[in-house]
């Protein structure tokens, strides 16, 4: 039907194809659940190592079954719905936090043979297919859409609890997530700009983004590192993870939007938090670290896709945990300043720089001159921005000093 679509669906869709798609869906769901379980264990274990503690060590070897034990316990707990809550929305909210993470994970290429221009296609049960559940045309945009939908779970959970602290927490959370969505989008934009195929057309599908990075043209350095940093910071803020976890600032907000949740519904929030971390890590791997692409050392090519993807994902997740253990929480005004005054202007500037380089390459300009002119323009813009900021602060200060009259 469409160029970059899964070759599985391009031919006749018979029973075998249907079963393959169904199998992929089940496997994706299974991977999500098991990975979440392991991620919780991983985070607790690494954090305790970094803090010189032992961490979970009772259930199973190295405490690896701790999450399972916690899960069983939490299912048996009483499920409270506060009297003052909006029951319908209260029940809906945990589900809404969970679904976007699952859908996003379905669009991540988790394996496949990307060497020799194979484009991630593997052969199974007599059909060629991609090792991802879906590869829609609008790929990254669907991922962004899901990340913007994820706000609802948090927002509605806080509102429907019928209590002040959860509401404040959810207002904070949603303001933060909406603010950082723009920075997140700018990071993605840089990736889409550089990843063009032979015909010079960029594609939005996750599969072609990974293909464009083969074998070593990782977007990490092709986009010039800055979009990666922007994306990682914005992703951390989107996930409400430390140092941007103002949502759960316990000293101020008790337990934030999940204060009133108990039992299984609380467990769903907890799972969704970690599943979102994994999904975001997988997106970082796909967009910037070459996804499942990597050298085939021995044996069949399809096996190494999984290996490289897993190693890269663990590295990113370790970085998330490491950040959590090392960086103190920022203040709310610092959080908003970082998002609106640093990441977004920098992201827009960097996007224009990349556009300039691409247009220059098409028009045959001297690349050194292009970059130099772009750098001068960026510095000039930064200077103007600083000047405007300083002027507005000076005027505000003068207006405060003035005894009467209108602030202008």
């Amino acid at each position: 039907m469409i160029v970059a679509a899964d070759p599985l669906l391009s031919g006749h869709v018979g029973l075998v194809v249907f079963l393959i798609v169904l199998g992929k869906a089940v496997v994706t769901l299974g991977i999500c659940l098991i990975a979440t379980m392991l991620m919780i264990w991983f985070e607790r274990k690494v954090i305790s190592d970094l803090q010189n503690r032992i961490g979970p060590n009772r259930a199973g070897p190295f405490g690896i079954l701790q999450t399972l034990a916690d899960g069983l316990k939490v299912i048996l707990k009483e499920d409270l719905v506060p009297e003052k809550s909006d029951r319908w929305v209260f029940r809906l909210a945990p589900i809404l936090t969970m679904i976007p993470a699952f859908i996003t994970f379905g669009m991540i290429p988790i394996g496949g043979d990307f060497t020799d221009g194979n484009g991630g296609v593997v052969h199974m049960f007599g059909h060629d297919t991609l090792l991802q559940l879906a590869n829609p045309d609008a790929g990254v945009l669907v991922i962004l859409a899901m990340s913007s939908i994820a706000v609802y779970g948090v927002m509605l959970a806080g509102w429907s609890s019928g209590s002040k602290y959860p509401l404040l927490g959810s207002v904070r959370a949603s303001a933060q997530m909406v603010s950082y969505e723009a920075a997140l989008g700018l990071g993605v934009l840089a990736v889409v700009l550089v990843g063009s195929n032979d015909a010079g057309i960029s594609s939005l599908t996750t599969n072609s983004i990974v293909s464009a990075q083969m074998p070593w043209g990782w977007n990490l350095w092709v986009t010039g590192l800055v979009p990666f940093v922007i994306f990682i910071l914005a992703a951390t803020a989107e996930l409400n993870r430390p140092p941007f976890d103002l949502v759960e600032a316990e000293q101020e907000l008790v337990g934030s939007f999940q204060t009133e949740y108990s039992g299984f519904r609380f467990a769903i929030f907890y799972l969704a938090e970690f599943l979102n971390a994994i999904t975001m890590g997988a997106i970082v791997v796909t967009l910037f670290l070459g996804g499942p692409g990597g050298p085939v050392l021995f044996g069949p090519g399809w096996m190494w896709g999984f290996v490289w993807f897993f190693l890269k994902l663990v590295a990113v997740l370790y970085a998330f945990v490491w950040t959590r253990a090392s960086v103190p929480r920022v203040r709310y005004d610092q959080l908003m300043d970082l998002g609106w005054k640093v990441l977004i202007p920098l992201g827009v500037g960097w996007m224009l720089l990349l556009v300039g380089i691409r247009v220059g390459a098409d028009a045959g300009w001297n690349p050194v001159v292009t970059v130099a002119v772009a750098a001068v323009v960026m510095v000039a813009c930064y200077g103007l921005l600083r000047l405007a900021g300083a002027t507005s602060r000076r005027l505000a200060a003068e207006a405060l000093d003035a005894p009467e009259g209108v602030i202008d």
Binding site: M1, I2, V3, A4, E83, K84, S85, D86, R87, W88, V89, L92, P136, D137, A138, L141, V142, L144, A145, S148, I149, V151, Y152, M155, L156, G158, W159, S160, S161, G162, S163, K164, P166, L167, L168, S170, V171, S174, A175, V178, E181, I201, S203, L204, T205, E404, G405, V406, I407, D408
Partner: protein
Amino acid sequence: MEWVVFVLGALICALGAFGVVTRSNPVHAALSLIGTFFGIAVLFIAQDAEFLAAVQVIVYAGSIVVLFLFVIMLLGVDTAEDLEVEPITGQRTAAVVAGVAIAAVLIFVVVAGAITGATSSAAPIDTDVANPVQIGRVLFTDYLWAFEITSILLVIAVVGAVTLARHRPDGMVDDELVDELPAPAVVAVDEGEVAT
């Protein structure tokens, strides 16, 4: 198959729209609105317009309704009073008349469109080219003028909002701290009704 998808999508849209009008709780109404937007996204996908579907979800469901909910949550719109008060006299009658008129125009357009047989005024979709590429080409060539005008309109709106929010008469500047917390979903319960 196409019929099944269409009927399901249309049902989601219609039920959502019905919910927006009938629910007395503004948050429930906003949630129904999201349902409608998702139904429209499904219909877009059924027409091979995946890009439009994604943008529909990002812009409408992901941003605009989030802002609606923000305002509802921050201002704490009173659920019980809302339906009783009519801020403008005769607005209900006016709304019904306007609704009927718009429905009539829409039906006329559908009927008339079927008579002319014209299917698309811009460009037919080409299933061999990824549709972000197609939309990009049309948008930045034939419709560049409209595109730029729209962007200027948006910039003016943002600048206007910032100007309105920042330039206040002296008497309004932080003289009274509002120490009221935003109202959570308890209003209706307090008045003896269960908000479900």
